[in-house]
């Protein structure tokens, strides 16, 4: 451990020189994004990191030990920031990996001609910095995955809007795959809006649903049945010719449900049921 302490001392003593070299490597690396990070900011981040690094290495060279926690926390913060700013994973990992060269130089100067010790120490440092590099990539990926799952959630809510077409007429344009989780959201939204608006007719448009298999058909039938229980009628529109043929071959029975080819047709039916008519204004000329 005495050796570690010496090393830490050395790093601290020569901090300015190391920092200068490290900065040079980071700046010359093709992966540095000058458009995303200022050099002064990078210098400050690097300086803080080097301080934490020399402190940790004085205690242990095992990055999983608790003394490395501040270093890892600082790295995690840098990675998360870079992930949010739009850096690529390799651009993010270059930060810590480019510290190798200055540290190797330092080791070489210290150990000099003793080949075996040199190899041992370089191996130790390589292991250490590789661990930290991998750690940055892990954190980077985690924060990206967080973004993806948040977007998925958002997409789920965005993609099931219930719109009011007319007094007492609602429309629900469905887009994408209709799995069980989405059906649940769709049904809840629709029933809620039926209550709120006192709608008598709901039109479910499936133009944007690429595949209508038996499960999708079953989900649609359940949604229609639930809407009926609430006292509103359902029309399914957007049945394309190829979907119609497929449903028939599958043997799904949609006879009890009013279906139309287009949303416009369905709207016309809805208006007729409500006793309303829409007509073009007579031309005045």
């Amino acid at each position: 451990m005495g050796q570690n302490m010496q090393l830490a001392e050395e790093i601290r003593k020569r901090q300015d020189a190391i920092l200068k070299d490290w900065m040079a490597y980071q700046v010359s690396a093709l992966t540095l994004r000058r458009d995303l990070v200022k050099e002064s900011e990078l210098r400050e981040t690097s300086r803080q990191f080097l301080e934490l690094f020399s402190e940790a290495i004085g205690v242990s060279t095992d990055t999983s030990s608790p003394s490395w926690k501040p270093v890892k926390d600082s790295l995690a913060e840098i990675s998360q920031k870079r992930a949010a700013q739009g850096f690529s994973p390799s651009e993010t990992a270059t930060f810590v990996l480019s510290l190798k060269q200055p540290l190797f130089d330092l080791v070489q100067q210290r150990v000099g001609q003793d080949g075996k010790r040199l190899a041992d120490m370089l191996w130790e440092f390589t292991k250490l910095l590789d661990h930290l590099g991998l750690y940055t990539t892990e954190v980077y990926q985690e924060s990206r995955e967080g973004v993806i799952s948040r977007q998925q959630q958002e997409l789920m809510e965005l993609s099931t809007p219930v719109v009011q077409l007319w007094d007492e007429v609602l429309a629900l344009p469905l887009i994408g795959t209709l799995d069980s989780a989405r059906t649940q959201v769709v049904m809840e939204n629709l029933l809620q809006r039926v209550v709120e608006t006192g709608a008598r007719i709901a039109i479910i448009d499936i133009t944007g649903v690429p595949t209508v298999d038996t499960l999708v058909a079953q989900h649609l039938m359940k949604t229609v049945a639930a809407t009926r229980l609430m006292g509103a009628d359902c029309i399914i529109s957007g049945i394309r010719p190829q979907i119609a043929q497929t449903i028939v071959h599958l043997g799904v029975n949609l006879n009890d449900i009013v279906t139309k080819a287009t949303l416009a047709d369905a709207f016309e039916v809805a208006l007729a049921r409500l006793g309303a008519t829409v007509s073009k204004a007579a031309s005045t000329s």
């Binding site: 795959t177 799995d179 690429p210 595949t211 209508v212 298999d213 038996t214 499960l215 058909a217 079953q218 010719p241 190829q242 979907i243 043929q245 497929t246 071959h249 599958l250 043997g251 799904v252």
Partner: protein, 134 residues
């Protein structure tokens, strides 16, 4: 008979199912199937992929583009190592279901394709193979 494309993908989650459907659609377009035929084989594949996932506990899908002289087609094979189907004749009947579905998945897919074969061994798994020709 020449096999032009041969792809194998795992079916372990709902995401895999979506990917499987897209692959089948791609292959059907590649083979020049009409829009109706594309929709039919994609829908059949969707049913069978779900069976592999739900009843077989996951498995794999093999997708092939076939050229048989002037005929072009798409072949899809679904294989799982699940519990198997004890009575295939019963399972193929319209409306027969063990999990509260419509009971039309197997029989319906058979009507959507030109060739359909099913093999199942109790405790060893099920393999379903379908072909749609142009």
């Amino acid at each position: 008979m020449a096999v032009l494309r041969d792809e194998l993908i795992g079916l372990r989650s709902m995401d895999d199912m979506i990917k499987a459907r897209q692959l089948v659609r791609d292959c059907a377009i590649f083979q020049g199937l009409s829009l109706v035929d594309q929709t039919k084989i994609v829908t059949a594949a969707s049913e069978l992929a779900r069976n592999t996932l739900v009843h077989g506990g996951g498995g794999e899908m093999r997708l092939q583009a076939l050229n048989d002289g002037p005929r072009r087609g798409v072949k899809v094979i679904f294989a799982d190592r699940g519990p198997g189907i004890p009575n295939i004749e019963l399972a193929m009947k319209d409306g027969y279901t063990t999990r509260g579905g419509l009971g039309l998945g197997l029989s319906g897919s058979k009507r959507l394709v030109n060739e359909f074969s099913i093999e199942s061994q109790s405790g060893k798994g099920t393999t379903v193979s379908i072909v749609r020709w142009k």
